[in-house]
Amino acid sequence: MNPQRTFAIALRQYYLIRGSFARFLPTFTWVAIDMILWGFMSRYLDRLAGPSAGVHFVPLLLGAVLLWDFLVRVAHGVTVSFLEDLWARNFLNFFATPLTVSDYLGGLIITAVATSAIGLAVMLALATTIFGLPFFSFGLLALPYLFILFFSGITLGILGAALVLRLGPASEWFIWMIPACVAPFSAVYYPMASMPAWMRAVGYAVPPSYVFEGMRASLARGTVAPGPLAAGMALVAAYTALAWWCFQRTYRHALRTGRIARYSAESVA
C-alpha cells in the first residue's frame, strides 16, 4: 500500500464532504435520531418495568443500538465512498493510474474511520448526557468491542462494494440491505439463548454477536469471559482478509470483462 496514493483517495472524500452540507449531515443525523428515539423508548421501558424488575433498558437497549449503529456507519463509510466513484464514473480515471486495489481500499477505510468517529462522538454525547448511558463504565473493555464492530463494518462495506462492482450499478440497493441481513444473527437486541438452534449456529459465525453477548454479560455479572471475545476478534480478522481477497478477485474479473473501462454498461460481461 502506497501512503500517498491512499491519502489521495481519502482526500477526495474529504473534499466531497467538506464541500457539501448534504454529504456532511448524514454522518451524524441518522445516528442522532436513533439515539433520541431509542433513548426515550428505553426510558419508557424502564418506567414500565419499575425498579423492582432489576432490568435497566438504557444500557441494554440504547447501548446495543449505539454499538450497532457504529458498525453500520463504518460499513456505509466504505460503501458510500465507493458509490461516490460509481456516481462520478471515476473508475476509469482512478484505475488507469498506478493506484492499486490496496491503495484504493485503504483510502475508503480511512474515510470510514473519520465519518464513523463523528457518528460515534455524536451518539456518545447524546446517549451519555441526555439518557445517562454508562458507556464509559465498560472501561478498556470498550476497545475490543469497538475493534470487532469496526472491522465487521469494514468487512461488510468491502463486500458490498465488491458486490456492486461485480453485478453493476443496479445492484446498489444491496449495500443498504447487507447490515440488516446480518443483524438478526448478531444478537443485538436479544441474547443468543433466545434464538432457535439454527440461528444460534449462524450467530456463532457472526463476530458482532460476541460483542453483544459480552456486553450483556458485563452488565449482568460485571465480568466478561476473554475467550469468546478473543474468538470474535480472530473471526473478524479472518473475515476482513476474506473480504479484501474477494474485492481483489472481483476487480480482476472486472479487468477481464471490461467492466472497469465501461462500468455504466451492465451487460459488458
Binding site: 473534499y15 484505475f95 477481464r256
Partner: protein
C-alpha cells in the same frame, strides 16, 4: 527503447474478437495516430494499454515495464485523456489536479498545478467545480491532468473532439511541443484527418480489430491510390464494413 511496445495483443469477448493480434511500438518524441471506423477496436486497444482491460493474449510494455507484472511502475509513466472520461464533476479543478497529482506522485505538486492551470488557460476556473464547466473547458482540465505528471507515454482518445477550431489548434501545438521537448511518445485517436495529418508522425489504420495499414499520414494516401487521408480512411472503412466472404 520504445516508450510503448505492444506485441500480439488480442481481446476476445466470447465469440467476438474485438482486437486481433495487434503489434506496434511508439518511440520517444513520436506521435502515432490510431485511426479506424467506430467499433474498429481503437478504444479497446487503448484500454488494454491503460491497464483497465486485460488482454486475452499479448503483452504491453511501457518503457521496459511489463504492464501485466509491473502495473504500478508502468502506469506511473503514463497518463491519458479521453472524450468519454471526464474528471469528477463534484470536485473543483484544483482539487481534481491535486488528487491525481498525489496518485501520480508529482514532485512540487502545488507549483506544477499552477503551471498546468496557466498553460491550459484554467486559472480563472481554479476553484470552480468541473461539472459546471463547458465541455471544451472540461477537455482542457482533462488535458491538464493528462500532462500533470509529464508522462513518458500519453494516450489521447479524441482529445480535441469538443474544442473549437482555435482552441483545438492551440492544443495540437502544445501536444506536439510536449512530445518534441519532453521526449514523450503519444498515442492519439481521432476522426479528424486534417488534425492527424498535421500532428501525427505515423498512423495505424485499424479495422475489425486488426491493423490494415501503417505509415506516414502525408504519404499513405498517394501510396494507396487516394487523394487525401480522409478519402483513404473512407475507402478502408467501407471495405472493412463489407461482409466477409464465407
Amino acid at each position: 527503447m520504445p516508450v510503448l511496445s505492444v506485441t500480439g495483443l488480442s481481446k476476445r469477448y466470447g465469440s467476438v474478437e474485438a482486437v486481433r493480434d495487434v503489434t506496434f511500438a511508439v518511440e520517444p518524441r513520436e506521435i502515432v495516430g490510431l485511426l479506424g471506423p467506430n467499433g474498429a477496436g481503437k478504444t479497446t486497444t487503448i484500454n488494454m494499454v491503460l491497464g483497465v482491460l486485460e488482454p486475452s493474449v499479448g503483452s504491453v510494455v511501457i518503457e521496459g515495464a511489463d504492464l501485466a507484472t509491473h502495473r504500478a511502475q508502468a502506469l506511473a509513466r503514463t497518463n491519458f485523456a479521453a472524450v468519454y472520461s471526464s474528471l469528477p464533476g463534484n470536485l473543483t479543478v484544483y482539487q481534481n489536479l491535486r488528487v491525481f497529482g498525489l496518485i501520480y506522485a508529482v514532485r512540487n505538486l502545488r507549483a506544477r498545478i499552477e503551471e498546468s492551470l496557466s498553460e491550459f488557460d484554467l486559472l480563472r476556473f481554479r476553484d470552480v467545480k468541473c461539472g459546471v464547466l463547458s465541455s471544451g473547458e472540461q477537455t482542457r482540465v482533462a488535458l491538464a491532468k493528462a500532462m500533470l505528471n509529464r508522462p513518458h507515454l500519453l494516450l489521447l482518445d479524441e482529445p480535441t473532439a469538443s474544442l473549437d477550431p482555435s482552441m483545438a489548434k492551440d492544443i495540437r501545438k502544445r501536444i506536439r511541443a510536449f512530445a518534441d521537448n519532453g521526449g514523450s511518445g503519444v498515442l492519439w485517436t481521432s476522426h479528424n484527418m486534417y488534425e492527424v495529418e498535421e500532428v501525427c508522425d505515423r498512423v495505424l489504420f485499424i479495422s475489425k480489430g486488426r491493423i490494415l495499414l501503417e505509415g506516414d499520414p502525408r504519404k499513405l494516401p498517394g501510396e494507396n491510390g487516394a487523394k487525401t487521408l480522409e478519402e483513404l480512411f473512407i475507402a478502408l472503412a467501407r471495405e472493412s464494413l463489407a461482409p466477409e466472404p464465407t
